[in-house]
């Protein structure tokens, strides 16, 4: 069985990758993909902790499934917004979508 630190390390690596993507990418779709990465690292954490701390109860796995569901819904909404923006301005550069400032 893989020890817990390995799992946590992998999740941290994945999360950092996701965060890096979110912070650096200009394309909105890529940012969405990076967010998915972060969500999945969280899922990994949940499952890992559940397996090692409370092996008899499936709470962690259950939460992971909830997160996936929410992520799916979020992606649906975000993609719809991005689609509208792409239609309107022919561009999905996140730096140029700056209507909500001061």
């Amino acid at each position: 069985m893989v020890p817990l630190p390995y799992v946590l390390g992998l999740a941290a690596l994945l999360f950092s990758l996701g965060l890096y993507g979110v912070l650096t990418q200009r394309n909105a779709v890529r940012i969405l993909m990076a967010i998915e990465l972060m969500l999945n690292s969280v899922n990994l954490n949940l499952v890992g902790f559940a397996r090692y701390l409370e092996p008899d109860r499936p709470g962690g796995q259950l939460f992971a499934i909830f997160v996936m569901t929410v992520a799916a819904a979020e992606v649906a909404v975000a993609l719809a917004i991005i689609l509208v923006i792409a239609h309107r301005r022919d561009d999905v550069d996140i730096d140029k979508i700056n209507l909500l400032k001061w």
Partner: protein
């Protein structure tokens, strides 16, 4: 029968309501309702009179209002005077209403005319029956109202409206004084009832000053209503109304109400020698004063109007000198012969279309019935025996002869003038050559509804005097007397004085107008100032016009000026101050309160400038800040933990 007396005024009241209320049936003959009601009232009055002659009487009263320990009652009483007055009022009213069928035929306000006649008859009968001053006062005002309505019957002409207003306001001046008089008597005795008032006054229960003041103020009401000097000015102008109205209201009944009031409250007057003196002198002055003005009138109705004023003065003279029976008897006889004369003049006016006697003349050939009844009426007025006026005037002058020689001679001179002016009017109207041929050609005798009342009244004017004739036992005095029935001894001075008066008056008038022996022009030019003075009614009307009418208008201007300058000034000043204050608070509100609010907002706005740059709109910078914050937080947690 006397117990049914209360029913008599109710008949014209019902008739008034029936005629006066709006009705959709335009074809209803309103006149018949009015005549029927007053006809039945007349028959009832005759029954009451018959009952009273045989010793009957009736009275009833009920409490109207209670204030503290004072109860105000109203009711009616029937005695000799009431019964006689009831008959006179209903009879003259009946005659006038029948006569009006012809005179007012086709009038545009025929219905209103009959309605108000009924109202007047109701009010006058109520006045006669009232057993106390307060109720009498109510009816007193009601007859004044109907008089006003009828004087202004043809209100399209502003002159008629002015005449109606003049009559109403002039009598009102007397009425105010009368009301004060009533209140003085009430405050002294606590009662309005004639009976109690009379007993208390006779018993000396009222102080002499209060009694005199109350009685004189009461008499002021009579002065207004009976057109006595100095409030006589309205009656000649009241001739603007239809002539039958003049006959009923302004000759026979309403103007006699003042005399009736003095008669009804006689115990009160008799207890105050001062008040009696005032009544007698006002009456005497009015009698001669109005007679002089009647001498020069060209308008046939004006002659009769001044004559009425003069005769009412006679009645007051008689009453004031203690001739209770004589004064009231003259009221009765005068009612008949003056109603006759007025209706006769109405017949003439109806036929000729003018009231100016200078445009008449010779009418007796075309209008024999009107002419001969007129002659009977004028002979009665002049006091030619044995017609009605002779007996009553004789009684008054006889009373005056014993009581006050000065007033006796004034009365004799006035009697001579009476004979003169009525002979003059008779001659100018009915005899001589027609002065206006065109009018004369169109004249014809009035219809029978007009001549029949004339004949009936002429018969009465000729015969009613015998009721008071001493040779026949003076039955009137048995019925209407104050204290003991007493007869004054006839003296030759009075007999000859009275006879000389009317003979002289008639002869001088005939000499001037019929014979032409004395030139009219020479008299006028010889007495130019006097003639002018008389023609202008002694300038009393003008003086009143200046004093009261112009004075009121002037006062109105002054008050108006005060209103504009002072009252409006105060109001506008308050408004200006309020506005100024509002401006000040507005300024405070805008500058201080708004300034504080806006200052706070501006301060926040300026203070926030520094922080708004944080809101860059770059999502990734926010996320970076979040991540850094979380990492730092965790680091602090781990290291510090």
């Amino acid at each position: 029968m006397a117990g049914l007396a209360w029913l008599i005024p109710l008949l014209p009241l019902a008739s008034w309501l029936y005629i006066g209320l709006p009705s959709h049936r335009a074809s209803t003959r309103y006149d018949r309702v009015g005549i029927g009601a007053v006809g039945i009232a007349f028959l009832l009055s005759l029954g009451v009179l018959w009952d009273v002659i045989r010793g009957g009487s009736a009275a009833a009263s009920f409490t109207w209002a209670v204030h503290g320990s004072t109860a105000i009652t109203i009711g009616y009483q029937v005695d000799g005077l009431t019964a006689v007055m009831l008959v006179v009022v209903t009879l003259v009213s009946l005659m006038v209403q029948v006569y009006s069928l012809g005179y007012m035929h086709g009038d545009r306000r025929y219905k209103r005319y009959y309605a108000v006649l009924s109202l007047f008859t109701f009010a006058m009968l109520g006045l006669v029956l009232a057993d106390n001053l307060l109720l009498l006062y109510i009816f007193w005002e009601l007859v004044g109202l109907s008089s006003y309505l009828l004087i202004g019957h043809w209100f399209e002409d502003p002159a008629n409206v002015r005449a109606a207003n003049k009559a109403f306001l002039t009598t009102r001046a007397g009425d105010v004084a009368m009301f004060i008089g009533i209140m003085i008597l009430f405050s002294q005795t606590g009662t309005f009832a004639f009976g109690e008032l009379g007993e208390l006054a006779q018993a000396g229960a009222i102080s002499a000053q209060a009694l005199a003041l109350g009685a004189i103020l009461l008499f002021a009401g009579a002065v207004g209503k009976s057109a006595q000097f100095p409030l006589h000015v309205w009656l000649p102008d009241a001739m603007a109304g239809p002539t039958p109205v003049s006959a009923l209201i302004h000759a026979a009944t309403m103007v006699a109400a003042g005399v009736y009031l003095v008669g009804r409250a006689y115990p009160v007057f008799a207890a105050s020698p001062e008040a009696m003196q005032v009544v007698a002198w006002i009456g005497g002055i009015t009698a001669i004063f109005a007679a002089t003005m009647a001498l020069v009138q060209a308008d046939i109705k004006k002659v009769l109007a001044y004559s009425t004023v003069s005769q009412l003065g006679y009645m007051m003279l008689g009453l004031g000198l203690g001739g209770y029976t004589a004064g009231l008897f003259h009221l009765i006889t005068h009612a008949f012969f003056k109603a006759l004369l007025f209706l006769g003049s109405g017949s003439v006016i109806h036929a000729t279309g003018t009231q100016d006697m200078h445009q008449m003349g010779g009418l007796i050939r075309k209008m024999p019935i009107t002419g001969w009844t007129w002659i009977i009426g004028s002979a009665a007025l002049a006091g030619i025996p044995p017609l009605a006026g002779f007996w009553s005037k004789d009684e008054i002058l006889l009373t005056a002869y014993y009581a006050n020689p000065t007033l006796f001679w004034i009365g004799v001179v006035a009697a001579a003038m009476t004979a003169f002016y009525i002979t003059r009017a008779t001659w100018l109207t009915f005899f001589g050559a027609p002065r206006d041929a065109e009018r004369y050609a169109q004249v014809q005798e009035s219809p029978r509804v007009m001549t029949v009342p004339l004949v009936i009244l002429a018969v009465l004017a000729a015969t009613v005097g015998f009721l008071g004739a001493p040779p026949l036992g003076a039955p009137f005095a048995q019925l209407v007397h104050f204290g003991e029935v007493h007869h004054l001894e006839m003296t030759s001075v009075v007999t000859w004085g009275v006879t000389a008066a009317w003979v002289l008056g008639v002869l001088v008038a005939l000499a001037i107008y019929a014979g032409g022996w004395i030139s009219r022009q020479r008299i006028i030019s010889g007495l130019r100032p006097v003639y002018t003075l008389l023609k202008n009614r002694y300038y009393i009307d003008d003086a009143y016009d200046y004093l009261f009418v112009k004075g009121s208008i002037g006062l109105a201007y002054v008050v108006g000026w005060l209103d504009r300058v002072v009252v409006d000034g105060i109001v506008n000043g308050v408004a200006a101050i309020t506005r100024w204050f509002a401006d000040a608070t507005g300024l405070f509100d805008r500058e201080v309160v708004d300034g504080a609010v806006n200052g706070v907002a501006d301060g926040v706005s300026v203070g926030s400038q520094a922080f708004r740059r944080l809101q860059s709109g770059l999502v990734q910078s926010y996320i970076l800040a979040m991540a850094v914050t979380v990492v730092l937080g965790l680091a602090i947690f781990v290291i510090g933990g």
